[in-house]
Each structure stands twice: as structure tokens, then as C-alpha cells.
């Protein structure tokens, strides 16, 4: 702790030494004068004058002051000067001395560097007024910082505090600013500061500027401005403020609308990915696979294992056996690629489990759909308990690769990368499934067997094999969904339970045996859910209403959106 403090002050010292090499004496001189100055008001003025200086060293120097690192030293002859002590002390407890005025070491008349002890000196006192003055300067100086993020932040700080005295500075910045985003921020700040102005004309300009900008953050301040204008009984200002408010409002509803559409589409994509496998096993094969959710969990856990294989390895202890999976200790970009390996692996593992399930249980129940529901529920209990015993009852951590975390903000609408990715991924999977079902020999066989199992068998199709492959495909898709859902939600033993009801609803609403229907219903349910949430601001009630809506919808179209017509009478 102490060591790090020493190191830090060393660094600070070094930084000072470097900046002094560039030689920006005026700023340092002003600070020195301000420290030495006795009169508080003059002191603050001196500090305030720094805000017009273009010098990157000022923030560091001022912070050091408000942190109490400076001392006053009165040489044997002459006026007192401000100094800073070096971090390294010798045996006598003295340290090198730097003058604040120019950053050079303090020398005695003989030209030898002076060394002083801290307890012989008076440290420079600060009070709340000085600290406030320093803060004000620092805020404004940030406006000129080289980092655009810092500039934007500074502009926002100034704007929301509506500090009128900083208007000239902001306007100066407005001319110099090149970064479009920061420029917008500065403009907003100008507008916000202007509506605080006592001059009605400036106020009007401010409102007009804000009306043009339509920034969401300005809403509250415009409302306040509107109230003021109403009390001042100035119809022109009231009109301007109302117009600005309306404009911001319309922008807000625009953002909400498209934000809801985006979130709804991504939720729909999640539903789609999760229920596409079910659309195949339930929709095409007629098997009610209650263990579908657990297939999703298999995929998610596979991702977890792959992640740990790329990382530090994994120790598992199911049933008291201990299994050690060694890790590759990969780092950086190589570690980040784990997800790309996890995707196909989760498909393969889940497909394998699915094929086992089909061979072991489901093949005996094709003619008894309700009983396949019960038997697969038994399977789901067993699998859940297996997860619990192997990976623990708590959720496990699956980290997001860098390329899936982060977001774009376009026009105030936030696009999270993982949500964008999930939409793209859903499109890709649907396309892939469509290709498999319509363009491959396997797809042809699958469709034949699903339409009429007996007839297909008569034509020499090995229906057993086709059933196995189809169920494997459906389960594999569930696994793939699990790999993706591990990026979005929690991975735990009951992961599957959170999705199973939604998946069944999606498939039923879409119309059993119809992939297009599943796509439409997934996106539709996602959009409906998000819109209702947006209106009610209550996710649970939204979900309940969606369930209710689905039940009512099935009154109207009992067989779902797209009906597969057949003349058979069940």
C-alpha cells in the first residue's frame, strides 16, 4: 500500500519533470502566484484565469494542490515560494525540492540543489472556496482534453449544471470541435446553458437549439425552463419551450419504438433458436419432448466445459468420482475463440444425447404422444439432477467473448452486440435448417417419414434411422441454442425449465409441423412481449398477458398461424 503510494508519487514527479521540459511557465507561474496570494478573492480569480489556458499539465498541477501536496517555503531572503517535495528521502529525512513556478529544482545561491524536510515547512492550505474554484477549472479544462470521451463528458457536466459563466468557453469549443459526437454534446450544453440565461433572446436561441438537437437528456431541463417561462408569462418563450419539448418527446417515442422493435426481434430470435429444435421434434415428429429444455442446457454446459478447457481446466465430481479436465491455459484472442469451438461441439453433444434418448425411450412411444410427454419428463428430471450433481446446484459462469460484449448506439438506440448477433445467428440457423430439409436427401427422407411413416416404410425408407437422425437434428439445434443462451442468461441446472413453456407456445402458435409458422410466431411473440412490457413497465404482467393472448389466439386459430392441411381424421 505504502509502496504503491510511493511509486505513484514517483510517477507524478516524473510526469512533472517531463512536462516542464516542454516549458509552459505561464500556467505554473499563475498557480505559484495563486498559492502565494493572501487575498482569497484574488486567489480564486487567479485560479479561474487558468481555465482559459490551453495546457495539459494544469489538471495534474491543480489536483496535486487540492490533494495537499504543496508546501510554502520562505527562503532566507525574498518572498515565499510554492514548492513540492520529491518522494525519495535520504537518511536525514530530507527530500529534493521542486519549484511550482517553473518546475525546476530549487537551488541555493551557490547553485546546489536544496534538500528540505516536510516538517520544517508549512503545507499549502486549501478551503472549500479554493477547491470549488479548482473543480470549476478542471471541469472546463476537460473540454479541451485530447480524449473525445473526456471532452464529451466535460461538455455534459457543464451543460447539465447549466453554469452560465462557462458559456463563452463552450462557444469557443463549438468552433474548435471536430468530433461530430462531441460537437453534438457541446451544442446540447450550449443550448442547456442558454435556456438558463436571464436574457430572453438567448433563452429563445437555447430552446430553438434544443428543439433541433432532440437529445433525450435535455427533457427535464426543458420542462423546468418551460415552467419558468410560464411563470414569467412570456408567450414567445413558452411556445419555443413547448416546441422543443414536443420535438424531444417525439424523438423519445421514436427511440422507444425502434428500441422495442429491436429488443422484440432479438427476444423473438432467442425464442426461435430455442424452439426450432422443438419445431422439428414436436412439429415434424409429433414427439412431445419435455426434455427439450435439458437439451438446451446440455448445449450451455458444453459451452461452459469448452470455455474451461481453453482456460484453466475444470474439476468435476459427479457421484463422488472426481474427474479432472485439463485446461490449455489459452489467453487473449486464442481464448476468445473458445466460443467458435463451443458452437459445433454443443450441437454434436446435444445431438448425441438426443439420439441416445430416441433409441432408449422415444422409439417405443411414437404412437403414444401423450406418453412420450410423460417419459421425456422423467428424462428431464434425471438430466436436471445429473447437471446438479456434476456442475453443482448453482449457476456456472460463462464469460462472453470480447466480440459479443459491447454495443452500438445509433441515434440514441442501443444495439447490444450479443443481441444483434443472436438475430443474425437465428437467420443463419433457419436458413441452414431450411437447406437441410428441402435440399438434401436426408431432408427428403425426413419429410417423407413425417408425412406418412407407414407409406415411407413401404417404399423402403429405413424409418428407424430417419427418426433417429431427425431427433438428433432437433436435439442438436437445441444444444446450439444452449450455447447461445449461455451468452445471454444464466447457466444452471434449471436453465431448460425457463424456456420449455415458451418453446411449446411458440411451436403451437406457429402451427405444428410448419417451420415458417415457428419463425413468424417466435418473432411475433417476442415483439408482443416487448411492446406490452414497454407499455406496462412490468415484465411479469407482460408475460402473463402474452400467455393469455396466446390462449385467446388459439381460439381463433386452433391449429396455429399456418395450418398443415390434411384430410385425415386424427
Amino acid at each position: 500500500m505504502k509502496l504503491s503510494a510511493v511509486a505513484l508519487s514517483c510517477l507524478l514527479f516524473l510526469a512533472h519533470a517531463l512536462t516542464t521540459a516542454q516549458g509552459q511557465a505561464p500556467a505554473r507561474q499563475i498557480i505559484n502566484d495563486a498559492i502565494v496570494e493572501e487575498d482569497q478573492a484574488k486567489k480564486r480569480d487567479l485560479i479561474g484565469s487558468l481555465s482559459l489556458q490551453a495546457d495539459d499539465t494544469i489538471p495534474g498541477l491543480l489536483s496535486a494542490w487540492s490533494d495537499g501536496q504543496y508546501f510554502l517555503y520562505t527562503p532566507p531572503e525574498g518572498a515565499p515560494i510554492a514548492i513540492e517535495l520529491g518522494a525519495e528521502k535520504d537518511a536525514a529525512g530530507t527530500a529534493a525540492v521542486t519549484k511550482i513556478s517553473d518546475g525546476q529544482p530549487l537551488v541555493d545561491p551557490a547553485g546546489q540543489p536544496v534538500r528540505l524536510k516536510a516538517d520544517q515547512l508549512t503545507s499549502v492550505k486549501t478551503n472549500i472556496g479554493i477547491r470549488r474554484a479548482i473543480k470549476g477549472v478542471l471541469d472546463v479544462l476537460e473540454l479541451g482534453a485530447t480524449d473525445p470521451v473526456k471532452r464529451l463528458q466535460a461538455a455534459k457536466t457543464v451543460g447539465y449544471s447549466q453554469a452560465l459563466e462557462k458559456l463563452p468557453l463552450l462557444e469557443k469549443r463549438l468552433e474548435a470541435e471536430t468530433d461530430p459526437e462531441v460537437l453534438k454534446g457541446v451544442k446540447e450544453a450550449v443550448g442547456l446553458v442558454k435556456i438558463k440565461s436571464p436574457d430572453d433572446k438567448v433563452k429563445l436561441e437555447g430552446f430553438q437549439l434544443l428543439q433541433e438537437l432532440q437529445t433525450l437528456g435535455s427533457y427535464d431541463l426543458i420542462t423546468a425552463g418551460l415552467k419558468q417561462a410560464e411563470t414569467a408569462n412570456n408567450p414567445e418563450l413558452v411556445a419555443a419551450a413547448t416546441a422543443a419539448l414536443k420535438s424531444v418527446d417525439s424523438h423519445r417515442s421514436f427511440v422507444n419504438f425502434f428500441g422495442t422493435i429491436f429488443r422484440g426481434t432479438s427476444l423473438g430470435s432467442i425464442l426461435l433458436i430455442a424452439s426450432l429444435g422443438l419445431a422439428i421434434t414436436f412439429g415434424l415428429m409429433g414427439v412431445i419432448n419435455m426434455a427439450h429444455g435439458e437439451m438446451i442446457a446440455v448445449g450451455a454446459y458444453t459451452t461452459y466445459v469448452v470455455q474451461n478447457v481453453f482456460g484453466a481446466g475444470l474439476a468435476l465430481s459427479p457421484f463422488g468420482f472426481s474427474i479432472m479436465i485439463p485446461g490449455m491455459h489459452a489467453t487473449g484472442a486464442w481464448y476468445q475463440t473458445y466460443f467458435l469451438f463451443a458452437l459445433p461441439l454443443s450441437f454434436i453433444v446435444a445431438a448425441g444425447v438426443g439420439i441416445l434418448l430416441e433409441r432408449g425411450v422415444i422409439q417405443f412411444l411414437y404412437s403414444r404422444p401423450l406418453e412420450s410427454l410423460l417419459a421425456t419428463w422423467g428424462v428431464s428430471l434425471v438430466l436436471q439432477q445429473l447437471f446438479r450433481l456434476t456442475f453443482g446446484a448453482n449457476n456456472v459462469q460463462v464469460s462472453s467473448p470480447v466480440y459479443l460484449s459491447g454495443n452500438w448506439t445509433i441515434n440514441d438506440i442501443v444495439f447490444n452486440w450479443n443481441r444483434v448477433f443472436v438475430i443474425g445467428f437465428a437467420i443463419l440457423i433457419v436458413f441452414g435448417v431450411w437447406l437441410i430439409l428441402t435440399k438434401t436427401p436426408l431432408g427428403l427422407l425426413i419429410r417423407a417419414v413425417m408425412q406418412n411413416r407407414n407409406m415411407a416404410a413401404c417404399m423402403g425408407v429405413r424409418t428407424n434411422r430417419v427418426n433417429m437422425m431427425t431427433f438428433g437434428l432437433g436435439s442438436g439445434l437445441a444444444g446450439l441454442a444452449g450455447a447461445f443462451l449461455s451468452q445471454i442468461g444464466n447457466v444452471g441446472p434449471s436453465l431448460g425449465q425457463t424456456y420449455i413453456v415458451d418453446c411449446f407456445m411458440t411451436v403451437v402458435v406457429g402451427g405444428v409441423g410448419n417451420l415458417v409458422g415457428t419463425v413468424v410466431s417466435a418473432v411475433g411473440i417476442g415483439l408482443a412481449d416487448q411492446s406490452i412490457q414497454q407499455i406496462l413497465l412490468n415484465p411479469v404482467m407482460g408475460k402473463v398477458l402474452v400467455l393469455l393472448a396466446i390462449i385467446l389466439f388459439l381460439q381463433w386459430r386452433p391449429a396455429g398461424i399456418f395450418v398443415t392441411r390434411s384430410r385425415s381424421l386424427d
Binding site: L370, E371, L374, G378, L381, F504, Q555, P558
Partner: protein, 399 residues
């Protein structure tokens, strides 16, 4: 021949009445007496009370599934709704000026939300136990059967209904205790609900309810109504073509079974003394289906045997092997579905048919029947077939 079969059925019926009578006297009279003498612990008695309330839930599943081919995954919802309705009365009976503590925390200091007002009356609460689940079943069933939703769709929709209700009841906004539900009951009708006598009385009431339900449904199944009910299970289209409005039958049974489940739930709450949304999940519905399937569906004894048997197994296994309990349940269930389609009740008949298949190899038919004796053979066939009553049951199995 017809004489022999009818005497056989009469004997069978007599045997059934005798066996049921003995068990009923044992459970309803002997058991509580032994308990009051201290031979049977209070714990055992209360556990059996719980099993019997579960038996009602299992019967309600069976009425729909075993007798009508409708697998409802919403029975746990009706069960817990019944529990909640009586629970509201019990909460009011905890004497905090008639305001349940959790509502006090929500800011209801002086007055209650409107739905809580009338629940200080016991008869009202009991009526609600039947009316609320009954109305919900009526509304949902009307919608579902009108648009001919059946089979798997019906299961999925009832599952969704249960899930929605679960989400709703978990919220504090409903003023139903949120995730914690109701607990900490003190009195019922002025008696201390935790005292041995009250619990014994409640146990007797539960066991009696099971007996009455058994008798009532047994009677219903022997009426023409029961025949139509089973016909719907075996071929709904033929029933429709014969001019029966099958939707009405289904709706009646759906509402009836919802009420049976709700009574079970109300009795459950008085004895287990806790109700929360955790009872309202699809998983609980599926567990009830398990009891029914393992006991033997399409009979009324089956669900009772299943509920008591599986729950005893659960009590034992979750104590002895807590980690393995779900494995045991899951595997038992898979085994029962795959290999015992008729459950425990059907097991003797199943074994008998295996035995019949296996026996001829050892000792071939003693004497080939003389020509012209076809009648005798067909008699013999009906004789062997009739007792097993496997014909309708195997129909479901092969569906």
C-alpha cells in the same frame, strides 16, 4: 355362460366392496383411534393426511386423463387455488385485527383489499374453494373445448395457464403473499389448528372425502354418462358422429375434476399449513400425473394407490438418498410409462397375460377340441378374457 360372467362380476363387485370397506374402516376409524392412544405418531397421521389430499389431486388427473384422454397439466393450479382460498380464511383467522401480517407490511393497516374482505367467513371461503377453480376451469374449458383443442395441445395450453398463474401469484401486486404465500396459521373455526385433536379431525375429514369421492365417481362411471366419457377417450369422432355434444361432457368433467383438486388443495392447506406459488407449477401437475400413471389410470383406486405409494417412496428416498430422489422418480416414471402402461393396478393382469403367453410352451393344450364344438371354445376364450378386462385398457395403450 352369461350367468357365470354375471356371477363373476357380482363376486368381483362384492370383493371390491369388502376390500374397500375394510381399508376405509382401517384408515378412517382404526388409524385415528390408534393415534389417540399413542400407537401411531402424530407425524405419521399428518403425513397420511397429506397423502390423501394428494390422492384427491391424483383422482382429478385421472378423471380427465384416464377416463377421457385429456392430459391436463393444470390440476396443480386448481389444487393450489383451492388451497389459497381456504388459506385466505386461515390468514384472516390469525388474530391481528383480522389483517394478515404480510398485508400489514404492504401498507394495509386499517382496511383490507376488496378481495380479502369477505374471507373472514368460513362458509364463504369454503364456497370459494369450489367456485373460483370451478369458474376458471369453466372459462378455460369452454374456450378450449369449443375450438376443439385436445390431445397434446390441451396439455400445452394447460401448462401455459399454470405457468401464467404461477407468475401472477409470485408477484406482491396480487396481494396474495408473493413468493412466500400463506403460512403460520393459528386457528380454524376457533380451534387451535396445530393441536392433535384438530389435526386428527382434519385427517378423518380428508380420508372421508377420499372415500366419498371414490364412491361418487365409481357411481358416475357406471352411468351412461361414464360410458360416453370413456367413449370420448377411445374415439371422440365416433361420439360426435353419434350425435353427442362431446364438448359438454368434457367441460363438465373438467370443472368437476378442478373442484375435486381444489378440495384436495384446501384439505392440504389445513394439514400442511403452508401454501405458496411453488405448489402451482407444471412440475407439481406432472408429479400428480406420475402418481396416476404408476398407480394405474382408468381406475379410481389406481391414483389413490399411486399418490400414497409414490409419496411414501418420496418421503423415504428424499430422507435417505436426497441426491438420488429425482433419479428414482424419473427412472420409475420412465419404467412405468414404457413397461407398465396400466400401472400397479394393471400389473396382475399384465403378469397374467405374460404367464398365459409363456405357459403353452411348457404344457401344450391338453386336448384338441373336438370338431363342432366352436361354441365351447369361444366360451373358454371369453372366460379367460373377461376377468383381465384388458380389452379397453390395451386400446389406450395402443393409441
Amino acid at each position: 355362460m352369461s350367468l357365470t360372467t354375471s356371477t363373476f362380476f357380482n363376486n368381483r363387485r362384492k370383493a371390491e366392496i369388502i376390500i374397500v370397506g375394510i381399508i376405509a374402516i382401517l384408515m378412517i376409524v382404526v388409524f385415528p383411534i390408534l393415534n389417540s392412544n399413542g400407537v401411531i405418531s402424530n407425524f405419521t397421521l399428518s403425513i397420511w393426511g397429506k397423502y390423501f389430499s394428494f390422492a384427491l389431486l391424483a383422482i382429478s388427473v385421472d378423471m380427465l386423463w384416464g377416463y377421457m384422454g385429456l392430459l391436463s397439466l393444470g390440476q396443480a393450479l386448481f389444487f393450489s387455488l383451492g388451497g389459497y382460498m381456504l388459506g385466505m380464511y386461515l390468514m384472516r383467522a390469525i388474530d391481528f385485527n383480522g389483517i394478515p401480517p404480510f398485508l400489514g407490511f404492504l401498507g394495509f393497516k386499517d382496511s383490507l383489499p376488496a378481495i380479502w374482505q369477505p374471507f373472514s367467513s368460513f362458509p364463504f371461503a369454503v364456497a370459494m374453494v369450489l367456485i373460483v377453480p370451478g369458474l376458471l376451469a369453466l372459462a378455460f374449458g369452454f374456450l378450449a373445448f369449443r375450438s376443439r383443442i385436445k390431445g397434446v395441445y390441451f396439455s400445452i395450453l394447460t401448462q401455459a395457464l399454470t405457468y401464467g398463474a404461477y407468475l401472477l401469484f409470485s408477484r406482491q401486486e396480487l396481494r396474495m403473499g408473493g413468493d412466500n404465500g400463506f403460512t403460520d396459521f393459528r386457528t380454524i373455526l376457533g380451534y387451535d389448528i396445530r393441536s392433535d385433536e384438530t389435526q386428527r379431525t382434519l385427517y378423518v375429514i380428508t380420508a372421508l372425502t377420499v372415500l366419498l369421492t371414490y364412491i361418487g365417481l365409481r357411481w358416475l362411471n357406471n352411468t351412461k354418462f361414464g360410458l360416453v366419457q370413456r367413449a370420448i377417450r377411445d374415439s371422440e369422432n365416433r361420439v360426435l358422429f353419434s350425435g353427442y355434444a362431446s364438448a359438454h361432457y368434457k367441460l363438465f368433467i373438467f370443472v368437476l375434476s378442478a373442484m375435486i383438486a381444489a378440495i384436495g388443495g384446501a384439505l392440504f392447506v389445513t394439514q400442511v399449513r403452508i401454501i405458496n406459488p411453488g405448489e402451482m407449477t407444471t412440475v407439481k401437475s406432472l408429479e400428480a400425473v406420475v402418481w396416476c400413471a404408476i398407480g394405474g389410470r382408468g381406475t379410481i383406486v389406481g391414483p389413490i394407490i399411486g399418490a400414497v405409494g409414490v409419496n411414501s417412496l418420496k418421503s423415504w428416498a428424499s430422507r435417505e438418498y436426497p441426491d438420488l430422489w429425482l433419479f428414482i422418480l424419473g427412472l420409475t416414471f420412465m419404467f412405468a410409462v414404457l413397461f407398465m402402461p396400466k400401472g400397479l393396478v394393471g400389473l396382475p393382469a399384465q403378469l397374467k397375460s405374460y404367464w398365459a403367453k409363456w405357459r403353452p410352451k411348457d404344457e401344450p393344450d391338453p386336448s384338441p377340441s373336438p370338431p363342432g364344438d366352436d361354441l365351447a371354445i369361444s366360451d373358454a376364450v371369453t372366460e379367460t378374457n373377461a376377468p383381465s378386462t384388458s380389452a379397453p385398457a390395451s386400446n389406450i395403450a395402443s393409441k
